[in-house]
């Protein structure tokens, strides 16, 4: 059984100042499947439909058409059975009771999910410990840093041990260290077998933690694949990055069979693309023989794929 199964999902909203009956389509008949135990990233610019999709899966929004199922249960018609299966976490400062302590927040959210009274204390203590918040467990949440709040958010989302986690831009505004710790936690959750749908702007985050990624724009899905497969969409060629390549060698490289392009950027990094693995080894040997030691083989990253397929929406992309 799939963790998430979406078929022909559509959501229209009335235009705020539009004519009567005029609609804006946030999701335009999308299909998506997330397997059990999979970490799946949903990538797209602001307004692409990521949060709308999360809201539908979290049961706080009903679709205009189509179906969405969590572990086989419809999110519109089977609320009572779907809701306990889902843990919902979103980024930012909000969504917690700032005047309560971290521990009391967890107790309350656990109670709302039907965690029995005697289990609340133990579960909260375990999660506080796991997320490194034990020392601050009885402090008011409004005194927490953003990273601490985000960890508490994740702990809150796990109080009822959900099988599916919806993480909507969970690292928004986090400092790099907190974001890295957060990714480590997501890795741990994956190893526990939880299924995770992660919406993000952060390509590095998606590349690091996800099994597959879906690119979404304007309410439509552009591609779903592993990050490596997505990279291959841009270039099927092997690539070598090297610095300080002698000019003579560069000229020589351009005429070699199997080399498709040689470009040196303003940063001094030369990007050499070769047709396949067979062509790669002789080129690498040539570079090493010429004394070039600062080199690496690469493939296009998610960020490159994203920019190529979706476009550089300026500040919408926080890479």
């Amino acid at each position: 059984m799939n963790a998430i199964e979406i078929r022909g999902l559509r959501r229209d909203f009335p235009l705020p100042n539009g004519e009567r009956g005029a609609l804006r389509t946030a999701l335009d008949g999308i299909n998506l499947t997330v397997g059990e135990g999979e970490v799946h990233a949903l990538l797209g610019p602001n307004g692409a439909g990521k949060t709308t999709l999360c809201k539908i899966l979290a049961t706080v929004l009903v679709p205009s058409a189509g179906t969405a199922r969590i572990l086989g249960r419809d999110v519109v018609t089977r609320l009572a059975t779907v809701r306990p299966l889902i843990g919902c976490v979103f980024g930012g400062d909000r969504g917690l009771y700032g005047r309560l302590s971290a521990r009391r927040n967890l107790h309350y959210w656990g109670a709302l999910y039907g965690v029995p009274g005697h289990e609340l204390r133990a579960r909260a203590a375990e999660l506080l410990d796991r997320f490194g918040l034990t020392a601050h467990a009885d402090e008011r949440v409004e005194t927490f840093s953003r990273g601490m709040k985000q960890r508490l958010h994740l702990a809150r989302g796990l109080m009822h041990a959900p099988r599916v986690l919806l993480l909507d831009e969970p690292t928004t505004g986090m400092d790099p260290v907190s974001a890295r710790d957060f990714r480590t936690l997501i890795g741990e959750l994956r190893r526990e077998g939880r299924s995770i749908l992660l919406t993000t702007h952060d390509m590095a985050e998606a590349e690091t933690v996800c099994d597959r990624a879906t690119l979404i724009d304007d309410g439509r899905i552009l591609h779903t694949a592993t990050p490596r497969e997505l990279g291959a969409l841009l270039s099927r060629h092997e690539r070598i990055e090297a610095t300080d390549v002698p000019a003579q060698l560069l000229a020589q490289m351009g005429t070699r069979s199997g080399v498709t392009s040689v470009n040196t950027g303003p940063d001094g990094i030369t990007l050499i693309e070769v047709t396949d693995q067979d062509a790669l080894t002789p080129v690498l040997r040539l570079l090493v023989d010429a004394g070039v030691t600062n080199l690496a083989t690469t493939r296009p990253g998610l960020e490159e794929v994203y920019l190529q397929l979706i476009g550089d929406r300026g500040m919408d992309v926080a890479s």
């Binding site: 959501r11 909203f13 949060t51 709308t52 999360c54 809201k55 979290a58 049961t59 706080v60 929004l61 009903v62 609320l79 009572a80 809701r83 306990p84 889902i86 919902c88 979103f90 980024g91 930012g92 400062d93 909000r94 969504g95 917690l96 009771y97 700032g98 005047r99 309560l100 009391r104 107790h107 309350y108 959210w109 656990g110 109670a111 709302l112 999910y113 039907g114 029995p116 009274g117 609340l120 008011r140 809150r156 909507d168 831009e169 928004t172």
Partner: protein, 269 residues
């Protein structure tokens, strides 16, 4: 019925009441409660009672001091309309809707601080200002007053909850609704003038408000009315309060369904 349901509800109520206590501690220190809130409310009771004396409008001071002292807890209980909107500003609303517990449970407990503070404020007004305006307390009448003030605060709180549910997706209206509600109660429920002062339709409207009945019961206690009559009015107050609670539960459910349909429940950022 699911046998776990009562225990689940109790767990939610117990842990949810921590929010109310935390809010009370954040809104007031004992000094600001005493010298800011309580003194202001006692002044209001004295003001309206003295206006009655000065204008000699045909009301006796006891009528006014009882009405205005009990009104204090009604005013504070009505603050539930405003504080219910805090869930929206905290960004907890979508998470509450996504949880497998009826939205109403959260709202029922999250503002109970006003009931506690309001009850204490009204009792201080009755027991300290009352004697200055001619009220004579016995042990029995004082005990009955404590119970009736608590019932008034709870009944009015339920009325406020229903109003809070009605404006759940219109947070900009919360202060207007809250103010109109308590001023309306002050006018109609027999606080300043007897209920029969008003035209018939407004008298009928007043019968749907818990304050009207509990106030009548409290006056009955102090005037030595028959116990059955006092009990009858107190029970009517409870019934109207429970009725408003039922309205609140239904309307919160309706508001959640409407929010899911319209997309009004926003994720926080």
């Amino acid at each position: 019925m699911n046998p776990r349901l009562p225990s689940k509800a109790l767990t939610v109520l117990r842990h949810g009441s921590a929010i109310a206590v935390a809010d009370l501690a954040a809104v007031y220190t004992w000094k600001t409660w005493l010298f800011g809130w309580l003194v202001r409310m006692l002044s209001q009771v004295v003001f309206f009672t003295l206006v009655g004396r000065l204008t000699d409008a045909g009301h006796n001071e006891q009528f006014l001091v009882i009405g205005n002292a009990l009104m204090v807890c009604a005013i504070e209980a009505t603050m539930v309309v405003a504080s219910s909107a805090w869930e929206r500003s905290l960004g907890t609303m979508p998470l509450l809707v996504a949880a497998p517990t009826h939205l109403a449970w959260t709202f029922i407990v999250r503002s109970l601080q006003w009931v506690i503070s309001g009850t204490v404020s009204s009792l201080v007004a009755l027991f300290t200002l009352g004697p200055a305006f001619g009220l004579r307390w016995t042990l029995n009448s004082a005990a009955a007053a404590v119970l009736l003030v608590l019932l008034t605060a709870l009944g009015t709180y339920c009325f406020g909850l229903a109003l809070a549910a009605l404006v759940a997706d219109q947070p900009a209206l919360r202060n207007i609704v809250s103010n109109v509600a308590y001023l309306g109660m002050m006018a109609l429920c027999g606080v300043q003038v007897p209920v029969h002062y008003w035209p018939q339709p407004l008298q009928l409207l007043a019968q749907f408000l818990p304050l009207t009945h509990e106030l009548e019961a409290l006056r009955g206690v102090l005037q030595g009315a028959p116990v059955l009559r006092i009990l009858g009015r107190a029970v009517l107050g409870v019934i109207t309060g429970v009725g408003w609670l039922a309205v609140a539960v239904v309307v919160f459910g309706w508001a959640a369904r409407r929010g899911r349909r319209t997309g009004a429940i926003e994720f926080g950022t």
